[in-house]
């Protein structure tokens, strides 16, 4: 019923506005076209300059309310992010000045040069000097922005430093999975056709590759602070995107084409809780590429912690190989060490152990 009243009220308002508009048209015909036009001109000229003034106040007010909710006050949580923030500030400053000048000129000219009795417009079809001026000045400013931007761009998209920790992140409808390379520092091979072989092998890891045996499969990403991290990004089904707004990083996850990105977190989650004053703060991974009906819920969590905490966490994780092939788990093996049949896979599990 409420909707009905709502529609009725809207319809009434429409009718009223429409009637007023019709009436004003009749009045204007009576008054004469010329006179009405001049009156409209005055009103709209005034409204234009008011719009400029109120608009600029609005811009300031909007910034006042919303600046605190952007990521600027808490600062970027990665080294790359700090550079991006600096560039954002420079770009905001440059474009802000241009925005202010051009909008003021636009509405000021409109107001100042509104039609007046007996006034003649100035015949001014072109002026090469002026046109050259506003071709070259923007070109120079843009060159500066491009040079700075590309300098950072090449640094960020270049190869990750050799000491970087490698973590693989895989997107699928609608969640993220991580894989850590384990002690050998190498991720085992994958083959999408091995999906769910054996059951539970959701990342389609090829367990014939010995390098996969110590790999860890987790659903949460843990990272040590102040260490370079390289993410290897995969997708199982459709395109996803690893969006890390706090680190100011982002990279698509494309099925069939692994991508990479690297960065260095500089604050632990605990430190960020203090910086933001939000006790619930978490680093979130958002999917930033439309991936289906659950796109909005494709949330991942990154815990940035001290090196010790990180190592402790790593040690507490069990390689996926052992969860999928429980009979090859050395901890269970120890209990059943007498069983002769079990000794052979044991040697496979720990090839470095003679």
């Amino acid at each position: 019923m409420n909707e009905f009243y709502f529609i009725a009220i809207v319809a009434m308002v429409f009718v009223v506005i429409f009637q007023i508009a019709k009436a004003s048209e009749y009045v204007s015909v009576l008054k004469g076209e010329e006179k009405t036009r001049k009156q409209n001109n005055k009103i709209n000229g005034f409204l234009l300059i008011s719009f400029l003034v109120l608009g600029m106040i609005g811009v300031w007010y909007c910034n006042d309310i919303l600046y605190g909710r952007t990521l600027f006050p808490q600062g970027a949580a990665s080294e790359h992010g700090q550079k991006i923030d600096l560039m954002l500030y420079i770009t905001i400053a440059v474009t802000g000045v241009v925005f202010f000048i051009t909008q003021v000129l636009l509405f000021w000219f409109a107001f100042k040069y509104q039609e007046k009795e007996g006034k003649k417009a100035f015949y001014f079809p072109h002026n090469n000097k002026l046109e050259l001026l506003w071709t070259t000045v923007p070109a120079i400013f843009l060159t500066i922005l491009v040079v700075f931007g590309l300098k950072y761009w090449f640094k960020m998209t270049g190869d990750a430093p050799k000491d970087a920790i490698v973590v693989e992140i895989t997107g699928h409808q609608f969640a993220w999975d991580m894989r850590y390379p384990g002690k050998d520092g190498k991720l085992g091979k994958k083959n999408y056709k091995l999906y769910n072989q054996p059951s539970g092998n959701t990342l389609a890891v090829d367990f014939n590759d010995e390098e996969s045996w110590d790999d860890l499969h987790t659903t949460e990403m843990h990272l040590p602070v102040n260490r370079n991290v390289k993410l290897v990004i995969n997708a199982m089904d459709v395109i996803h995107d690893v969006g890390l707004s706090h680190f100011r990083m982002k990279m698509d996850a494309v099925p069939g084409i692994p991508t990479t990105m690297w960065f260095k977190p500089i604050y632990t989650t605990a430190e960020m809780k203090k910086r933001t004053g939000n006790p619930n703060f978490v680093y979130e991974i958002s999917c930033d590429q439309m991936c289906g009906k659950g796109h909005f819920s494709m949330r991942g969590v990154i815990v940035v912690e001290t090196e010790e905490e990180y190592n402790k966490w790593l040690a507490s994780q069990k390689p996926e190989y052992f969860t999928l092939f429980p009979d090859k788990d050395p901890s269970k093996q120890a209990q059943a060490v007498d069983t002769a049949a079990a000794s052979k896979p044991m040697a496979q599990v720990m090839p470095n152990n003679p």
């Binding site: 234009l48 051009t102 909008q103 636009l106 003649k120 417009a121 001014f124 079809p125 089904d237 707004s245």
Partner: protein
């Protein structure tokens, strides 16, 4: 001299014949339905565009209801959406369908067909002095292919599994695999077929516009004497003709992947537990094909608005457009560059960083011709004698929005910043302001300015001013705060933000934006009422040249018939911007150059 007169004579005769022939068998069907008169076709495009704009706008209002309060239920929605709004709650799948269709409808059906289709058809023959398009038949087909595309797209709204829901960019594999999303089932096939029809329509129209402009200008109408509207529509047609076929090929390959088991875009996929056999394709290939159209498309939408605003700003400032040649040159530069920047939509796809850097450079280069245009518009206003007709208000609004939205392009075109801002609300704010609302403003300016020529009546001025003021204030209130959401990394195309620690603090703002969107939508309804009411009941035009403009369309009768001019086509003696020259308010293009006239242009 004799050849010229002979030529003129045959010219005239031929037209006389064509004229008679038309009067001969003109029935309701040939006059209003399968019409070959460019003016009627233009109105058909416009009315169809308005209907689509209403639908597309309504969709945005419905999905804004969801964003306003993700927990609210609206039982009335269930009444007409059925299972898509079970219990009055919009389902995520349908939310994405709405988002997708909103984009598709507004980008293609409204701002391409509705804008170029209307004004290219209407203005090209009238402003260059031709009786009709080069091929009225193809022109008519262009509309009817558009109509067919519209019917197919509309039908996709009613299929069981819903319309396409993978975003208007329809990236595979999401759009290629029915298992990945219910919108990628039959709805997606209908989308692709509809777009194929749409592209045919656009090509028929575009080829016609180009041919007409190059070959059918009246005597004296050299290229450099064409109004800027015509230049803009010319470059728009060139962009469309060269880029739409690439989308068509991309769409056809996608249809193959969907239905024939090919692997152009698919490789190594496990979807919904099913291991797909496809190997060796590249999902990124589609993005290249799509954006090779997709970026020029932005300028297909924007250039007509630029052209019309240039014309309207000059007429109503009572001053020549400043830097005519620079305006043409910058349109040309934008057209060329439009083809060379597509990969800036793909900075975070894993694109080769060096390739990315080339695209950064070319993208930011576009800011130079854009800056020239803005400063030229400002100088056009400077020392003018400005009349704030509704069209002029929208043209000024266009410039304001173009500045605001254009400047944020400098952020997004810079790849390092794009890493952070890509696919966030910052992008939504940017393109809605610069190509969505700004182009709409150009379109509104065009409608208000040429309505008297189209229907022989005026739109109601009071409603027009209300329309303008609410729309511009509303557009800024909606899109300006979105920049802040984007700076906070808030992603696009999210159905619900309430579970995100990083984004949930914007819920109040989202509610505010939705309320403003509702108001702005309501005011567009006011425009639609004004539009249709005034066709029959508007104030009648009594002056042949109501805006005191120089261009040729105002030398036709108030209600021109098929063939536009009753007598001979006027000859052109000057450029269209002789306002305030030698102390005269305006000198139309068909007035011969006086002996004592200063030779400025």
């Amino acid at each position: 001299m004799s050849t010229v007169t002979a030529h003129e004579a045959t010219h005239h005769e031929a037209h006389g014949d064509a004229h008679q022939e038309h009067h001969h068998h003109e029935t309701f069907i040939t006059k209003y339905v399968f019409s070959q008169d460019h003016k009627t076709i233009a109105k058909q495009f416009l009315v169809t565009g308005i209907i689509w704009a209403f639908i597309g706008g309504l969709f945005s209002v419905i999905f804004r209801l969801q964003l306003a309060d993700p927990n609210a239920t609206y039982p009335f929605l269930e009444d007409f959406l059925g299972h898509w709004a079970k219990g009055g709650k919009l389902q995520p799948e349908f939310y994405y369908a709405l988002v997708t269709m909103h984009g598709t409808i507004l980008v293609f059906f409204v701002l391409t067909a509705g804008l170029s289709g209307t004004f290219a058809n209407f203005l090209i023959p009238l402003q260059i002095g031709a009786r009709d398009m080069a091929s009225p038949m193809l022109n008519m087909l262009s509309y009817w292919f558009f109509f067919l595309a519209s019917v197919i797209m509309m039908s996709s709204l009613f299929v069981q599994t819903g319309p396409a829901s993978g975003g208007w960019t329809i990236y595979p594999p999401l759009s290629a695999l029915g298992e990945a999303s219910s919108g990628s089932k039959i709805g997606m096939d209908l989308w692709l077929v509809s777009m194929a029809m749409f592209i045919v329509s656009s090509l028929l129209g575009g080829l016609n516009y180009i041919t007409t402009i190059l070959n059918m200008r009246t005597k004296g109408m050299s290229m450099t004497r064409m109004p800027l509207t015509i230049w803009a529509l010319f470059f728009t047609a060139v962009l469309g003709v060269l880029s739409f076929p690439v989308l068509l090929s991309g769409a056809i390959l996608l249809l193959f992947d969907r239905n024939l088991g090919t692997s152009f875009y698919l490789s190594d996929i496990v979807v919904a537990g099913k291991i797909m056999p496809n190997e060796g394709g590249s999902a990124i290939l589609f993005q290249h094909l799509f954006w090779f159209l997709g970026h020029p498309e932005v300028y297909i939408i924007l250039l007509p608005a630029m052209g019309m605003s240039s014309e309207i700003l000059s007429v109503n400032s009572r001053k020549p457009i400043f830097g005519y040649m620079a305006m043409v040159g910058s349109l040309f530069a934008i057209t060329i560059l439009a083809f060379l920047v597509w990969a800036h939509h793909m900075f975070v796809t894993g694109l080769n960083p060096f390739l990315g850097s080339v695209f950064v450079l070319l993208t930011l280069l576009i800011a130079v011709p854009s800056a020239i245009k803005v400063f030229n518009w400002l100088t056009t206003l400077w020392k003018g004698n400005i009349r704030f007709t509704p069209a002029m208000m929208f043209a000024i609004g266009f410039v304001s929005l173009f500045i605001s939205g254009g400047l944020t392009g400098i952020f997004l075109g810079n790849s390092a910043l794009d890493i952070h801002l890509h696919d966030t609300y910052f992008v939504i704010a940017h393109f809605h302001i610069v190509m969505g609302v700004a182009s709409f403003f150009g379109m509104f300016a065009g409608v208000y300015h040429w309505y008297p020529k189209m229907f022989g009546r005026y739109l109601n001025n009071t409603l027009a001013y209300i329309h303008f003021w609410v729309t511009i204030v509303g557009a800024y209130l909606i899109f300006w705060p979105m920049h802040y959401e984007g700076l906070a990394g808030m992603p696009r195309r999210y159905y619900d933000f309430s579970n995100w620690e990083s984004f949930k603090m914007f819920s109040g703002l989202n509610q505010f934006i939705s309320i403003v969107a509702l108001v702005v939508f309501a005011v567009q309804l006011l425009f639609i009422i004004n539009f249709f009411y005034s066709i029959w009941k508007g104030r009648k035009v009594t002056k042949q040249n109501p805006w005191d403009a120089n261009t040729l369309e105002w030398t036709t009768p108030i209600r021109p018939g098929h063939g536009n001019w009753t007598g001979e086509i006027p000859e052109v003696h000057r450029w269209p911007y002789d306002y305030a020259k030698d102390g005269k308010d305006f000198i139309p293009q068909n007035v011969p150059v006086g002996a004592d006239e200063s030779k400025d242009h």
